[in-house]
Symmetry: C2
Subunit: 205 residues, 2 copies
C-alpha cells in the first residue's frame, strides 16, 4: 500500500469509529468521507462495503473475545467460563449500535465481511457451552447457534434506549435459563443487590 493510501485508510478508520459511535452501524458513509476530508470514492476503494468498514472497526474486539474464550477455559469453572464469556460477547456486540443485526445476518451470509468473525465466535461459544453441558451445568437442549441467538437478543435489548436499563438484569434471567442449577442473582449484572433487594425496590415504588 502506498504511503498516502495508508494514511487515508488509517484516518478514515479513526473518523469512522467516531461517526459510527455517534450514529450507529447505519451511519452515513458520505458523512464519514466528508469528515475525513476525503473523496467518497476513496472510502469505497478502501472499504468496498459497509460491512467491510465495520469489520475493520470490530476486528480487534472480536479477536480479543476469541482469546478470552481460551483464557476462560483454563482459568474458570466451566460454568463461570460460559457466563463470563457470554457477558463479554454481549458487551462486544454492543460496542456500536445496530451491529447485532448485521452479525446475525452475517453468520449465514458467506459473502459478508463479518462472516468469518461471526463463525469463529460462535465456535468459541459452542465450545464453552459443550463443556458446560458435559458437566451437566448447562441445559442440554440448546446448541451453539441457540447460544449465539440468545446473546444477540440480549445485545439487542441493550441497544434499545428504553430497555437498556434492564439489560443487566435480563442477562441474569436468560443466563439462569441456560444454566441448570443457578439462581439468576448469582449471574446477573446487579448480583450485589440480590433478589430480595429487587423485590423491595418494587414494593417501595
Amino acid at each position: 500500500m502506498r504511503a498516502d493510501a495508508r494514511k487515508n485508510y488509517d484516518h478514515l478508520l479513526a473518523v469512522a469509529r467516531a461517526v459510527v459511535t455517534e450514529q450507529g452501524a447505519d451511519a452515513s458513509l458520505r458523512d464519514i468521507a466528508r469528515r475525513a476530508g476525503v473523496g467518497l470514492g476513496t472510502l469505497y476503494r478502501h472499504f468496498p462495503t459497509r460491512e467491510a468498514l465495520l469489520e475493520a472497526l470490530l476486528r480487534t474486539g472480536f479477536d480479543e473475545l476469541t482469546a478470552q474464550a481460551a483464557e476462560f477455559e483454563t482459568s474458570s469453572s466451566r460454568e463461570d467460563a460460559l457466563v463470563s464469556w457470554l457477558r463479554d460477547f454481549v458487551a462486544c456486540a454492543q460496542e456500536y449500535r445496530g451491529v447485532v443485526a448485521l452479525m446475525m445476518a452475517a453468520i449465514e451470509d458467506t459473502e459478508s465481511a463479518l462472516h468469518a468473525s461471526c463463525v469463529t465466535m460462535r465456535a468459541a461459544g459452542t465450545r464453552l457451552l459443550t463443556r458446560a453441558q458435559a458437566e451437566g451445568v448447562a441445559r442440554a437442549d440448546i446448541d451453539g447457534t441457540d447460544l449465539f441467538a440468545l446473546a444477540g437478543a440480549l445485545a439487542w435489548l441493550g441497544d434499545q434506549p428504553s430497555l437498556a436499563p434492564r439489560a443487566d438484569h435480563l442477562f441474569g434471567v436468560v443466563a439462569s435459563a441456560i444454566l441448570t442449577n443457578r439462581a439468576s442473582s448469582d449471574v446477573g449484572g446487579n448480583a450485589a443487590l440480590g433478589p430480595a433487594a429487587e423485590i423491595f425496590e418494587q414494593a417501595d415504588t
Copy 2:
C-alpha cells in the same frame, strides 16, 4: 371525512399493508403513495408520521391481543394464561418486520402514535404476570417492563432470517426462565418432541 378522502384513506391503508409486508416497517412511503396512485402529500395528510401509518395497520391486532389477555384470565390457569398471551404477543409484534424496535421506542415516547397501544399491552401483560407471581408460578424478580422487553427480544429473534427457525425453541427457553416450575419442553413451540427427542437430534447429526 369527505367521500373521496375516505376512499383514499382506505386504499392507502390496503396498499401500505402489502408494501410493509414486503419491505418491513421501514418501507418507502413514496413507494406506497406511488402504488396507491396518490400524491405523496395525500399520504402525509392522512398519516402525518410513519408511526401513524403503522399504528393504523397494527391497531386491529393490538386490540385483539388486549381482548385475548382478558379471555385467558378467565379460561386458563394463571400459568397457561401468561405463556399463551406471551406467545400471541410475539406473533403480533412479528406481523411486520421491524415493528418491534418501533414498539420498544414508542413505550417511552409519549409523542409516538404507537405509545398508547404499547402501554396498554404492557399493562395487560403485567396483569397476567402479577397474577402468576401471586400464585408463585412466575419468578418474582421481574416486572411488566421486563416481560415486555423479553417478549420484544423474542420477536426480534423471529425477525432475523438466520435465527427465525430457532425462535419457537428459544421461546420455550425464555419462558422456562420466567416460570418457576416448568421445563421448557412444556412450553416450547415444539413441545411434541420433548427434550429427549431434541437430544437425539443433536446426537444423530
